[in-house]
């Protein structure tokens, strides 16, 4: 019997091997290569010399590193709570037993399937001053204003946050929706017999049941928001004047425009480290919550 199990396991190897090979080549190997790069003076073309921790020391005194890290963190602070609440709200709406259920689910999810270049182009098209849709609507409403959605520091942030929410909320909504549908109907029936109001049901049944998935959404959202890059690059280019430039854009510029891959790898490691710490905290708190 034991031997049979062993043969059974062996049979899985050919199926696992391709992914394993790809995973090693494209994920594990670059992780270690990146660590090596961060210890060298390394250009796009060749490895130059071993500099030890010099790149790491430089990072701590680099204003741009701190500025772009703060920009990224600011983005995380802006998007994470709103994203979780919005996704929850939309999931509740999509879960209502109305005729519009399918319409809601579809329309909230559709933006998620578009590529970043498409959503960025759409937004620039709609938000451009003078002849963009949004400003025209504002003026039609009788408000005499020409907001510079992409050129004003504050508005640029609003733009990026709104675009990101609109674009990615669908995926989180689906996670909440799946969890909502997993809540046993019997709980609601029992509470109804006990005379609970709808608000009570939401507060004492729905919300607690959603906490595990809420944690997952929160973690995924924080990780995704820290990696923000493409939509900012395409919509504001990190501007005006670097006001919305995220860390990844800075890493990209240092690596590819300034030809300094060693330092770019160092900052990538810093980001990796931050995400690792956040994930550990999150997982720990989850475990203590479960206990």
């Amino acid at each position: 019997m034991i031997k049979k199990q062993w043969i059974q396991d062996l049979k899985a190897i050919p199926f696992l091997l391709p992914f394993f090979v790809a995973y090693m080549i494209f994920t594990i190997f670059p992780i270690f290569k990146g660590l090596e790069m961060s210890l060298y003076d390394w250009t796009l073309v060749r490895k130059l010399e071993f500099v030890g921790l010099e790149n790491y020391i430089k990072m701590f005194t680099d204003r741009h590193f701190w500025r772009t890290l703060w920009n990224t963190t600011f983005f995380v602070i802006l998007t994470t709570p709103t994203m979780v609440l919005l996704a929850l709200g939309l999931a509740l709406l999509s879960n209502l037993n109305t005729k519009l259920k399918t319409f809601f689910r579809g329309s909230f999810f559709i933006p998620s399937i578009l590529s970043v270049s498409v959503i960025s182009f759409l937004m620039i098209f709609m938000l451009q001053p003078y002849n963009g849709l949004v400003n025209n609507v504002i003026q039609m409403l009788g408000i005499d204003a020409e907001p510079k959605w992409m050129a004003d520091q504050g508005l640029a942030w609003v733009t990026i946050v709104v675009v990101t929410l609109w674009w990615t909320v669908g995926f989180n909504m689906i996670l909440f929706l799946a969890a909502l549908q997993d809540i046993p109907e019997s709980l609601y029936e029992a509470s109804e017999i006990d005379g609970a109001s709808r608000w009570d049901m939401f507060k004492y049944i729905t919300l607690p049941q959603l906490i595990p998935i809420g944690r997952v959404v929160l973690l995924l959202q924080i990780l995704a928001s820290y990696k923000v890059f493409a939509q900012i690059l395409l919509i504001t280019g990190g501007g005006p004047g670097g006001a919305t430039r995220p860390l990844i854009q800075y890493i990209y510029e240092v690596g590819f425009n300034q030809n300094n891959l060693g330092y770019a790898a160092t900052m990538s490691y810093a980001l990796f480290f931050i995400l690792l710490i956040l994930s550990i905290i999150q997982l720990k708190s989850q475990r203590s919550g479960e206990n």
Partner: protein
């Protein structure tokens, strides 16, 4: 049987992955049929839009003109072009012939990625004397030619004849009525703004990115400012004249904020001009090729006004380079240089895009002179001011553009942004 099957599937997957990783074609070129007996020359180019078509035409003409070489023209995405070129040439897998902007040449030369062309040039009869000296200078390092310039493409100005005439500001000879002084140009734009209907704009110009930076560079040089950094290719020193730099930047700032002749944050100033909604616009000469194929657009190109005394304009130059390999195939390299000669001899074809051909002999040819518009600005090639020759050129440009954007947006004073520029550029070149 079953075990054999799963094993087979597994092997197949592994084989597929390995096949995807390997480059068994051994060539950086497109999969095209090379005529028998011809030596393949793989060329990578970074062009898009009309430029790409005109270059493709030149390649086809070259391939048809002889049987010894065949240029395999590979279109690359511009945004990734230099990353790809640097890494692939560095690892010995790049093209036989590449294209580079003049401001990237210092990086390529200092990293030993391109070959000195002099020997091959003598072989194929490429005559350096035929080139515009100002354009040729940016390709010479330590007395050797490391690239063959194709063109120079300065930032110039375009006017919409109909709108300028409607405002009563067009001379009989078709030139706009304004004095070439700082005040004269502003008077011109202000009059346009006051006279034209409200839905037309005086000056379509972006308030972010490279275009305002290029005009700033032109004005700075017109004032006699010369460098941003100077000295050694790899270890230069900061040399920006802040007084002139600030004055030039303030002039542009005033166009946006004080005189309000150009609206802030235009999303697409090309389309504003193309649709006939703007009287004046400024961008690179390449727009000429676009405007002349636009129906009902009655325009005139002209050099950006010389307002501060010295003739100067921002420009870059497309050049052909010969990537360096330890085991380079001499036949392909010679073919590459043959093509460089052919393409620059046929610079008039390239001028269709709007660029100014690098060879004086082409500029003097009837074929070029017969082309409309080009002669209006061809002289700019003689006084263009290229950005400084340094391996940090791309990094410096990022810094200056970003900080100038902050200024145009009104988020900092000129003094503040230039002190930021000084700090950032000094940090960058100290590495």
């Amino acid at each position: 049987m079953k075990k054999g099957f799963s094993g087979l599937i597994g092997l197949l997957f592994v084989a597929l992955i390995l096949a995807a990783c390997s480059d068994d074609s051994g060539s950086a070129g497109n999969d095209v049929e090379i005529p028998e007996g011809a030596t393949e020359v793989v060329m990578w180019n970074l062009f898009g839009g009309g430029d790409a078509e005109y270059m493709e035409d030149i390649v086809t003409e070259f391939n048809d003109s002889q049987e010894e070489y065949f240029v395999n023209n590979v279109q690359q995405e511009y945004d990734e072009y230099y990353t790809k070129l640097l890494t692939s040439v560095g690892s010995g897998k790049g093209p036989d012939l590449g294209i580079a902007h003049s401001h990237v040449l210092p990086e390529l030369v200092s990293q030993g990625l391109v070959t000195n062309i002099d020997d091959y040039a003598a072989d194929v009869g490429l005559n350096w004397d035929e080139f515009n000296q100002n354009v040729l200078d940016v390709t010479i390092y330590d007395g050797n030619n490391y690239a063959v310039p194709i063109d120079t493409h300065p930032e110039i100005m375009f006017i919409n004849n109909d709108l300028v005439e409607e405002a009563g500001l067009l001379n009989d000879d078709g030139t706009p009525k304004f004095e070439e002084t700082p005040e004269g140009f502003i008077d011109f734009l202000t009059s346009l703004k006051e006279t034209l209907p409200e839905d037309k704009m005086a000056f379509a110009f972006p308030s972010t990115g490279e275009d305002p930076y290029r005009i700033w560079w032109a004005l700075y040089n017109q004032m006699g400012g010369e460098n941003l950094v100077s000295g050694d290719l790899e270890n230069p020193t900061y040399a920006l004249d802040h007084e002139k730099a600030i004055e030039a930047a303030k002039y542009i700032y005033d166009l946006y904020h004080t005189h309000e002749v150009t609206p802030l944050d235009l999303a697409d100033f090309y389309s504003d001009f193309q649709s006939g909604n703007a009287a004046v616009m400024s961008t690179g000469v390449w727009a000429t090729g676009i405007w002349e194929t636009t129906d009902d657009l009655n325009f005139t190109p002209m050099p950006f006004p010389n307002m501060f005394g010295q003739e100067a304009a921002w420009a870059s130059s497309h050049t052909f380079v010969l990537p360096y390999y330890d085991d380079a195939d001499e036949d392909s390299q010679k073919g590459a240089v043959e093509f460089m000669k052919f393409a620059t001899d046929n610079g008039a074809d390239w001028a269709r895009a709007g660029h100014i051909p690098a060879k004086d002999t082409v500029l003097e040819s009837e074929e070029f002179k017969d082309m409309p518009y080009r002669s209006e600005y061809a002289e700019v090639a003689d006084y263009v001011k290229y950005v400084d020759r340094t391996v940090h050129a791309r990094g410096i440009q990022d810094i200056v553009v970003r900080n100038l954007d902050t200024y145009w947006a009104g988020n900092a004073t000129a003094e503040e942004v230039f002190s930021m520029i000084e700090q950032e550029v000094t940090d960058l070149i100290a590495e």
